[in-house]
């Protein structure tokens, strides 16, 4: 271990004299995280997004009232702000003035059309500069329409069984409250898979773990650089084991990763008010994440012939894993196969663990993610070590 530490110490001194490690390990992730936060911040994560909607009820029916009551419930939950308008002109003026992001137009004859299986629409008019809010408003309307569709089918089936025509009186006899027929919105508590960090923390953590893989390359690829520069022969001629040489590079990679992550955590906490959560949990996540990065990049180094080759291949893998792991966009929230694929990246586990911690959970909440990340580290690190040792013995 002494020889490995000496090699790591020497490499650390060399890297400290090479400013590129500061640029790639600290400056780039910090600047990018801040830029992403400024550009995409609330919109990308859905947190802190202010939804201001208007509604024009030209129908004045039970169904339109049900829709409005759902919106009012959402307002009372703090999800959105709602203003009602007497007509579309007034709503459009508010939209132009920027008072609202979008408004719902519930047309006259809405309920009648529903009861008679006629086609009808709820118009959503949005501000072109508020695409996310408008999209969410459209989702509200779509969900309501789905509920209406289901009710229409149920009503038709019931009327068919009863052998009576579908009339407003018949509908009223079935249910005095159309909202109770399934046309309601519910606020869902997000699971760990879809839970979101607040914007500063999300981008700080995303960029930190994304660039972590580049940072540890400075350590791991040192072995290939020594091979190219000829100093590896002298190291191996010294009375130390091959394992010590590899371990020295691993120690340096780990140190660089931990230093980079620590600086970024402190800096983003101070500069961007990122909320990383329980320190012990964060520390465990960081150490596990760094170990996995060392393992994966070590694996890359073991198959590469030159430092440049390792750098190129490592960059490709870092970008793919970073994108898939949701360090740029919250891919896990998209559902489907993409959500499943994120489990194949330590990045996603890191972000999941951090999301739990950031929401105020104790440090133990990070343990499942830490365990998953350590499996990545163990598997890739073991293969990399064996492969590199074999390479040095040839």
């Amino acid at each position: 271990m002494g020889s490995a530490s000496r090699i790591a110490g020497k490499d650390l001194k060399l890297r400290m004299r090479d400013r590129s490690v500061f640029i790639l390990g600290i400056l780039a992730p910090l600047v990018l995280a801040y830029i992403f936060y400024l550009v995409f911040g609330p919109a990308a994560t859905g947190q802190g997004l202010s939804l201001a909607y208007g509604a024009v009820d030209e129908d004045g029916s039970d169904i339109s009232s049900a829709f409005l009551s759902v919106l009012e419930n959402a307002e009372s939950e703090g999800v959105l702000e709602l203003q009602t308008f007497t007509g579309p002109t007034e709503a459009a003026a508010a939209l132009d003035a920027g008072d609202i992001d979008a408004y719902f137009l519930l047309p006259a004859g809405l309920q009648q059309a529903v009861f008679t299986n006629q086609e009808t629409t709820i118009d959503v008019v949005g501000d072109v500069d508020q695409p996310t809010s408008t999209q969410i408003a459209a989702s509200f309307a779509e969900q309501f329409s789905s509920g209406v569709g289901a009710s229409q089918a149920a009503v038709a089936a019931t009327a068919s069984i009863a052998g009576v025509p579908v009339t407003p009186q018949f509908i009223s006899s079935l249910s005095a409250d159309p909202a109770a027929a399934g046309m309601s919105f519910t606020l869902v508590d997000q699971t760990a898979d879809t839970k979101q960090l607040d914007a500063p923390t999300y981008f700080a953590a995303g960029m930190a773990v994304f660039f972590l893989f580049f940072t540890v390359q400075f350590g791991v690829n040192g072995l290939l650089e020594e091979e190219r520069e000829g100093t590896l022969a002298r190291l191996m001629a010294a009375p130390i084991t091959r394992s010590a040489v590899i371990a020295g590079k691993g120690i340096l990679a780990f140190l660089l990763g931990v230093i980079s992550m620590t600086v970024l955590i402190v800096a983003t906490t101070l500069l961007m008010e990122a909320n990383w959560g329980a320190p012990l949990g964060v520390a465990l996540l960081v150490m596990a994440g760094v170990l996995s990065a060392v393992g994966i990049m070590g694996l890359v180094a073991s198959v590469a012939k030159t430092p440049e080759g390792a750098g190129n291949l490592g960059s490709i893998i870092a970008v793919i894993l970073g994108m898939l792991g949701g360090t740029f966009f919250p891919i896990a929230s998209s559902g489907g196969i993409l959500t499943s694929l994120t489990y194949l990246t330590p990045h996603a586990w890191f972000m999941r663990g951090l999301a739990s911690l950031s929401s105020g959970a104790p440090w133990t909440a990070a343990l499942p993610s830490v365990g998953a990340i350590l499996i990545f580290a163990l598997v890739t690190g073991t293969i990399a070590f064996i492969s590199l040792r074999r390479r040095l013995t040839r």
Binding site: M236, A237, T393
Partner: protein, 264 residues
């Protein structure tokens, strides 16, 4: 293989009784390796390079720093020890490369073409340093393409061609192995044809031929026969104005053994 970098195809290597393999570490402590390519860190200064490698060989504290100072003096870099190596000249880098190999006082120093691409002053300094180390009792394994270096430095020489040892022994043994003769050129006046006839009759003389003012004599061992040659020239009426002894060099031996010019 001798330094423990590669596994031996066959046979074994032992230094001070310790087997040298890629997996062993004890024996390697007795070896100092100076690779052909520079094996130093450009972004460390000269002293830092020496200290780092010294620690890998188990040195530390005052003994290490004292030895680092000694080596810097030996390789002539004491006044540049604080400069980054990337600011050194090629010759200075070569000398530091050798200094690292010397640092831990190895019993065996392996020098792999240490003078390639070196200016004449640095080259001479390197050769003098090697001679000095040899006199102090350090075994030196010196690989070179420059035969004059091998002749100057080495007690025993192995000629390797395409990875195979073609011949091995002292310089004289190698020369005699291939039947090469010493050439003695005698500048003289008089009846040189008669003098040449006289010399041919001497035991140990293979041939003698006269030209205008010179007799070329081929002998098996010039150092032992030279006094008798000179006496015989005088007795045969020749007047000697100069003598030059040309021993066959290793390059001639190499060419004789391999039939090819030097390469690789």
């Amino acid at each position: 293989m001798i330094a423990g970098l590669l596994e031996a195809d066959e046979g074994s290597v032992a230094v001070v009784g310790e087997a040298i393999t890629t997996g062993s570490t004890r024996g390697r402590a007795a070896i100092g390796l100076v690779p052909q390519d520079l094996a130093i860190y450009p972004d460390l200064n000269g002293e830092e390079n020496l200290v780092f490698f010294g620690r890998l060989y188990g040195m530390g504290g005052d003994p290490l720093m004292g030895r680092v100072g000694e080596v810097l003096e030996v390789v002539g870099l004491a006044d540049r020890k604080d400069d980054l190596v990337k600011e050194y000249s090629g010759g200075m880098k070569r000398r530091l490369n050798i200094g690292i190999g010397l640092l831990h006082r190895p019993r065996l120093l392996i020098l792999d073409e240490p003078t390639v691409g070196v200016d004449p002053q640095s080259r001479n300094a390197i050769l003098e340093a090697v001679e000095s180390l040899s006199r102090e009792g350090m075994a030196v394994l010196y690989t070179t393409h420059y035969m004059e270096e091998a002749e100057r430095l080495c007690d025993r020489v192995a000629i390797i061609d395409e990875g195979v040892i073609q011949a091995e022994g002292t310089r004289r043994e190698l020369v005699s192995l291939v039947g090469e003769k010493d050439r003695v050129a005698i500048e003289a006046t008089g009846n040189l044809d008669a003098v040449a006839d006289t010399l041919r009759a001497i035991e140990g003389v293979t041939d003698a031929s006269a030209t205008d003012h010179r007799i070329d004599v081929l002998v098996t061992d010039a150092s032992s026969i030279l006094p008798r040659l000179l006496t015989s020239v005088s007795e045969a009426g020749g007047s000697i104005s100069g003598v030059e002894v040309q021993e066959p060099n290793l390059e001639a031996v190499f060419l004789h053994l391999t039939g090819k010019a030097l390469r690789d």
